[in-house]
Symmetry: C2
């Protein structure tokens, strides 16, 4: 499969650079940003690019900008939204932040069973069929990366089947974070990806509209990955991404 090449515009670069400095603590909460005109000069770009970047920082809850005053850095832990996860996942030096990965794995383990429960209660035929089809495809492949692609598609359907829009949006945010460590995940999560037994039971439970069983098997299935990931995280310091 081919996918569109993502090009980076100048304002994107400025945004990434500033975001990294803030999330990395190089720019601490309370500090003020250089003026837009100064930044232009420092970065060698025009003011429009800087403004586009700062507007995005503002939207991300990273800075507080006020007309006439200076732009100050906010504490992202108090003001940032879940969409920061992807950028938090990797340090500017390309290492993975352990506590971020741990947080996500833990959140996943906590939310997904409840989502599966909701999905089973609704039991929308449309999503159920997709899930069954994806499960079948998973049973017919042996490649870890392909399994992972299918697994993500499976969970996307399951989340959609829960009918809960907040879950869907949170899932999107989390997937963007996962994407940052895609290949690392494919190997670490392998025991989970190959536990098609529990995935089948989960699918079955949803088909039978058995909410409690769905919740149970979802939890069982995910525990594979949760444990594997925690083992890896405990074993390594800041892991290099491959």
């Amino acid at each position: 499969m081919f996918q569109h090449i993502a090009k980076q515009s100048i304002s994107d670069t400025v945004f990434d650079q500033l975001t990294a400095k803030i999330l990395d603590g190089e720019l601490d909460a309370g500090e003020t940003l250089p003026g837009e005109r100064s930044l232009c000069e420092l970065l060698g770009v025009n003011r429009g690019a800087v403004r586009e970047a700062i507007k995005r920082l503002q939207q991300a809850g990273l800075v507080d900008v006020r007309h006439g005053g200076k732009t100050t850095v906010l504490d992202y832990l108090d003001h940032g939204g879940l969409e920061l996860l992807p950028q938090l996942m990797i340090t500017p030096e390309g290492k993975m932040r352990l506590e971020v990965a741990r947080s996500i794995v833990s959140m996943r383990q906590s939310m997904a069973p409840d989502i599966a429960k909701a999905c089973a209660q609704k039991r929308k035929a449309k999503h159920l069929q997709q899930m069954q089809s994806l499960l079948t495809q998973m049973q017919q492949t042996d490649d870890a990366k392909e399994l992972q692609t299918l697994a993500f598609a499976y969970w996307r359907e399951l989340v959609a089947g829960s009918g809960n829009i907040a879950y869907r949006l949170a899932f999107n945010s989390m997937q963007k974070a996962y994407d940052k460590i895609w290949s690392l995940l494919a190997s670490v999560l392998e025991p989970e990806l190959r536990d098609l037994d529990n995935l089948e039971k989960l699918t079955q439970a949803i088909a039978e509209q058995d909410a409690d069983q769905a919740q149970h098997f979802a939890s069982e299935y995910l525990l594979n990955g949760t444990n594997a990931m925690n083992a890896v995280l405990n074993a390594y310091g800041q892991a290099e991404i491959k």
Copy 2:
């Protein structure tokens, strides 16, 4: 208490308008946006303002913009992050979207007990003290709105105490959504806000590092609001915000 007046710049207005059109379905996924130059003319603003707005739409996962090609609308259910919640909460006409409110309430009920559990396991003195202090303040007031303010602060500390950064960011996103219906919430959640009994037990459980009890009482406490909210949501159609 006074808080800074939020002024709306032109690009903010453009962003809000386009976002509303997309979330409301007026601009459907797959459709293309008018060119930047056309939009300038249509809206009677400068191109820079339009560009800042579109950059933000892009960041929010609402559009796909590519150099040389047209900007197309994406399906926010597949690409939007949790930070869309605040804008989804209210329709352009100022009504509350029931399914969004329901989704958030359900997500809260599912996540918070696990967060409380994690918080109890860590039992960070710093956050625990804050929580105890806030609880005391809550016990000394009778005003619903002030109770709500304190309750939010309490949960903010609890989430911080869980040591899970993903939870914190998700909490921030959800609070921004809550803020949109702040006054409505203060009345609907009143039974929860006044159930200081369970909140005290929760605090106690955390102090005693009793994770399971913390999880239990958090769930009990939140059920007040969950049930109240569901009752209201079932009773009304699209509620007016007051």
